[in-house]
């Protein structure tokens, strides 16, 4: 069946800098029949600016938030300026028209079997995990007993997207590289210190962050039986599985981050 609306126009409602180089963009997507109805945490969109020739390719951004609004949807994206593309996007003003393709990819596998959910976010990796949290709030029925969030950033003033976490989670543990708030060190170390206190059978970990962090986490969990799903990043061209550009090495060869992921079992990926 044909979803003409999988490639949609969105209008920028707001696009604010909420911390140094970190922006929150709200987009209004007008059609109610759009594919956004079924968006799930961990999924992403490909974003481009209408009528501009640069950036040429869309930029993948995780869905940070989504809710119905006046016969359409508001999609929120939380992003960090790291290069030219995100810089151009950060300069856009309200009312600018965007192309937004999505939701794309396989999001987090949310099983109701785990009573304890552990979220581990590195930097801007908070975006999809915050949406996951929101998801738990909405379907109150299936809400796990305990949700613990670990969030690591370089400096305390780069902590973004924690509001919802703080409302929803049983605990939010912070780490900073420079010690300016919370644990002084890597978020993976902070988590590692607590690891033994979690029941491996009842717990599930969802993580997103720089690949060095995820690799570190894979090391920590190597001989552990706890489930862990990670959202990984790779450069993308198509976002739909057609170009094979976003390859990630898994035990069986390569998989496509955009289509087979971006969420994978941490033990499936070959971290090199």
């Amino acid at each position: 069946m044909l979803h003409k609306n999988s490639m949609m126009s969105g209008r920028i409602i707001s696009n604010r800098e909420i911390a140094k180089d970190h922006f929150l963009m709200s987009l209004k997507v007008s059609s109610a029949e759009s594919s956004f109805q079924e968006a799930s945490p961990g999924q992403f969109v490909m974003l481009r600016v209408k009528g501009r020739k640069f950036p040429f390719l869309g930029r993948p951004l995780s869905i940070y938030s989504i809710y119905p609004d006046d016969g359409g949807f508001i999609v929120e994206l939380l992003y960090r300026v790291v290069g030219e593309g995100t810089y151009v996007i950060s300069r856009l003003k309200p009312d600018e028209e965007m192309y937004i393709m999505g939701p794309l990819g396989r999001g987090f596998d949310i099983s109701p079997d785990h009573s304890c959910v552990i979220l581990i976010a590195g930097g801007i990796g908070i975006a999809p995990l915050s949406f996951l949290c929101e998801h738990y709030r909405r379907c109150a029925a299936g809400r796990p007993q305990k949700i613990i969030c670990y969030a690591g950033v370089q400096r305390s003033n780069l902590l973004v997207g924690l509001e919802r976490m703080e409302e929803i989670c049983s605990g939010v543990r912070i780490s900073t590289d420079d010690g300016s708030r919370g644990y002084h060190g890597l978020v993976t170390e902070l988590f590692k210190n607590d690891l033994s206190s979690y029941g491996h059978r009842d717990s599930i970990i969802y993580a997103c962050g720089p690949s060095a962090m995820l690799k570190g986490l894979a090391g920590i969990l190597k001989d552990q039986s706890v489930s862990c799903q990670v959202s990984v990043e790779e450069r993308m061209a198509c976002g739909v599985g057609a170009c094979l550009g976003c390859a990630v090495r898994v035990k069986s060869g390569y998989k496509r981050v955009c289509r087979d992921g971006p969420v994978f079992d941490i033990h499936e990926i070959v971290w090199d």
Binding site: E234, A237, V240, A242, C243, L244, Y254, R259
Partner: protein
């Protein structure tokens, strides 16, 4: 009688009648399925699928793609499931549509090309072959064959000898004289020629001082290469009589019309799919509008109509 309101779009590519000249370029449209939720595949002139080889290929290690000014580099390295799995897993889906399927084939050796062609020739649901002698991202085969007129001739002849399917040969632009190779594959029996594959390029991360692509170099595609593609199509149509299919940087109907005017019988849309999954449909509709606006009742009246100024 002329009916400009409803122009004829049919074109003939080496015996394959296409309902319109808009095809998808190999490697940019997966196996069709990936875009089937965005467009109605039945409306395409043809689908050319990702390159298929005899055995499964893993492809190159990531990073495989990089954006460049008005274009992109890729070094996929012809990752594919291999011809048997392709037939078992991909063809059944494609057969559900009323659209010619052209399989882009690749080999590391001449016999491998022949073998893949042979296997595909008996498969229901395969309507043509596109012989890729132009991939810049593999160590063996690919561009090495496409840059040598004799090799290009031989592979074409070999493939033709084992199949009754229409055979399109796809040329590389990384070459001094494209028309020379075109003539070779024509005399080897090619039913049509498509060009261009990607231009070999490179890009460097100045912070890490490494190439962006793990494979060091990759293939450049997108609007940046369009002037080169158009020039090569022009050179080739002036030298061969088989139909030529234009590829390279076609983003919209105006681009496609440029290729048709220069003499391409059909076009392939590649990188544009990534930027706009409905690109092929927008291009198709735009070509139709152009014909209507210019009172052209049959697209074949537009093809090759370049005046020399």
């Amino acid at each position: 009688m002329k009916n400009p309101r409803n122009p004829k779009l049919q074109v003939d590519i080496g015996g394959l009648a296409l309902k319109n000249p808009v095809m998808t370029a190999s490697g940019t449209f997966g196996y069709g399925e990936e875009y089937s939720r965005y467009i109605d595949l039945n409306r395409l002139g043809a689908i050319i699928v990702k390159g298929v080889s005899l055995e499964r290929r893993e492809g190159n290690p990531p990073q495989r793609i990089m954006e460049t000014p008005c274009g992109m580099l890729n070094s996929i390295g012809l990752e594919n499931v291999g011809v048997r799995s392709f037939i078992d897993d991909k063809i059944p889906f494609l057969k559900k549509f009323n659209v010619p399927v052209i399989v882009n084939i690749f080999g590391e050796t001449a016999p491998e090309y022949r073998k893949v062609a042979e296997i595909l020739s008996d498969v229901e649901g395969v309507h043509g072959l596109e012989v890729n002698i132009s991939c810049p991202n593999v160590e063996k085969g690919g561009v090495a064959f496409g840059a040598d007129p004799d090799m290009a001739y031989e592979i074409t002849r070999d493939v033709k000898s084992v199949t009754d399917l229409p055979v399109i040969v796809k040329l590389t632009p990384n070459i001094t004289d494209i028309a020379e190779i075109a003539e070779s594959v024509e005399s080897g029996g090619a039913d049509a020629i498509s060009l261009i594959n990607t231009l070999k390029g490179m890009s460097v991360d100045i912070e890490k001082r490494v190439p962006h692509l793990k494979n060091i170099t990759g293939g450049l595609s997108g609007p940046a290469v369009k002037p080169v593609a158009l020039r090569m199509v022009w050179e080739v149509v002036n030298r061969v009589s088989v139909p030529v299919i234009g590829v390279g940087g076609i983003m919209d109907a105006a681009d496609a019309v440029e290729f048709l005017i220069v003499g391409a019988r059909a076009v392939q849309v590649g990188t544009a799919n990534f930027v706009n999954p409905r690109a092929t449909m927008d291009i198709l509709e735009g070509i139709e509008d152009y014909l209507i606006d210019h009172d052209i009742s049959d697209i074949n009246e537009l093809i090759g109509m370049l005046k020399k100024g």
